[in-house]
Amino acid sequence: MYGFLQHLINGLAAGTIYALVALGYTMVYGVLKLINFAHGDVMMVGVYVGYAVAFLMGREHFGTFAGVMLVFLVSMLACAAFGLLIERFAYRPLREKPRLTSLITAIGISFALSYGFQLDLAVNLGGTSYTLLPGAASRAFPEIIVPNQWFEFGSDDQSVIIWNWQVISFLIAAALMVGLQLLVFKTRFGRAMRAVSFDHRVAALLGIPVDRVIAGTFMLGSALAACAGLLYAIKDTSVQPLMGMYIGLKAFVAAVIGGIGNVPGAVVGALALGLCEEFVVGYTSSSWRDAVAFGFLILVLLAKPEGLFGRVQAEKV
């Protein structure tokens, strides 16, 4: 029972992080119908930015509210800018081209980032060497928030632990999701986003600045990814250039389970995936985790081809 509860909590917590990444996928898919395979790698870039900021900031600011906020904000802003850049130069020129071409571009960017970050590159300026690219090995993520047990319930043998990062990521994720829902449904930008997602040509005719809306969506998604990445790094205490690929893939699976293009769907899908993985790891073996995650996805799609919350888009004939 305790074990079950513990797995439940762990699964939900992992799910919230997937959810933040999945939201980026879903939003971009919503407006562009593009599976942005580079999304996970943008997240990875965000984590490294956070790493650098924490490093420059110095150990004494770790754990303070201001310090943590600084790391998160800078990394999210940097990622937003980076997302904007990718959109502007790699996706926008291809918008009217077949969708596959943008997908290949996304894969190209993903390769360039995840392998590029594996290079060891440092420059020597004035006697000190500055690392430009981090190299292939994993690094310990600075302990801006030290993972510790926030709450323990039960005796030593049988206990349920809730971690501080679980609470933090849950709160941040919940706040961001509520904010996002408000943004999509209550603001002008959100209305524009929905219009673009419905049909961007018509939206352009109606005077909606499509380019700006799409760019904004990319920035938002990338910032969310950076935030998720940092939470992930705090949880797992390490960073590594290939981390984006795996988390990105999982988040994508989550978005599809929920019905890609649907915001609450992405959240539910991510939580479901997080739980599913956690129970597999807890009750069988972690080597089967990926297989079960994909198996779960396939089952969902077979029973409900449009995902849990996706709408059947009857094609107009």
Binding site: T105, A112, L119, S287, A291
Partner: protein, 335 residues
Amino acid sequence: MIRGAAPAILAAVGCIALQALLGEWAFFGYLASLVGVNVILAVSLNVINGMTGQFSIGHAGFMAVGAYTGGILSLATAQDRIGVLPEVVSDQLFLVGSLCAGGTVAALCGLIVGLPSLRLRGDYLAIVTLGFGEIIRVIVQNTQALGGALGLSGVPQRAGFGMVWFWVFLVVLMARRLAASPHGRSLWAIREDEVAAEAMGVDTTSYKVRAFVLSSFFAGVAGALFAHFVPIVNPGSFTFVKSMEIVVMIVAGGLGSTTGAFTAAVFLTLLPEGMRSLFTTLGGGDPSLAQKVDQVRMPIYGVLLVLIMLTRPQGIFGTHEAWDAVARWRKKARA
């Protein structure tokens, strides 16, 4: 029928001759085999992604199925031979048997995956095929009989590049003749407009499944060939990244163009090796520069992809075929 099979027979003779002539040149042979396997993968994936317009990104999974099936069969029969035949001939016959078995098992997997999932819309199909590829890999990794994480080693290295390129010829011939057959036309129709195709009496699901099965068959053969010239079959060779590389090849070549897929597969496979040579030359024979730059190959590959897409989004060939150009040219010359 005999006339129809004539090109394949001629190709077989040609490949044997080529093998005999160039067999000594080991590095060329190895590289040619690697290129050949990628060509088979690309041309076969093009049947489903290019001709039928269904987006599958789990091709490496079928390749793995073929590699392990073929590899295990050859391991089991490594000491057997057909008594009346010389050893080389008998080995090659066993090899063909293993290849066909690898292809068939992969095709069966294709059927099992394709039947339910080909009812799904584009992006969903993509993720299901990707999931399938990953599941296959995890299963292999956790099965000790298949060598687990270390992989299957000791598969007799029977496949020369002659054999590989014979299959390359077969897959290209298949793609070409398929494209010009009623089946091919139905596939094109599905790619162009599924609703209209269905309304014109094309059983879209059945055609898609069949295209998928055919595509998986050749992916399986490619995998089995791979197992017979790479000394170890390791689950790490069949990851999502491998699937992506194949997708990249067909898109770069021009979706739907068999010759495009062929060209891009050759080019992209040789690119890393070529870069290696280039850097060695540029470094004035200094190998340390080459090895430093060796690390930059993959990021460059990624950037190159983006550039190809930005400058020529329809791929190198678009949907054109080299042989169509030849036919047009000959027509013009005759007129």
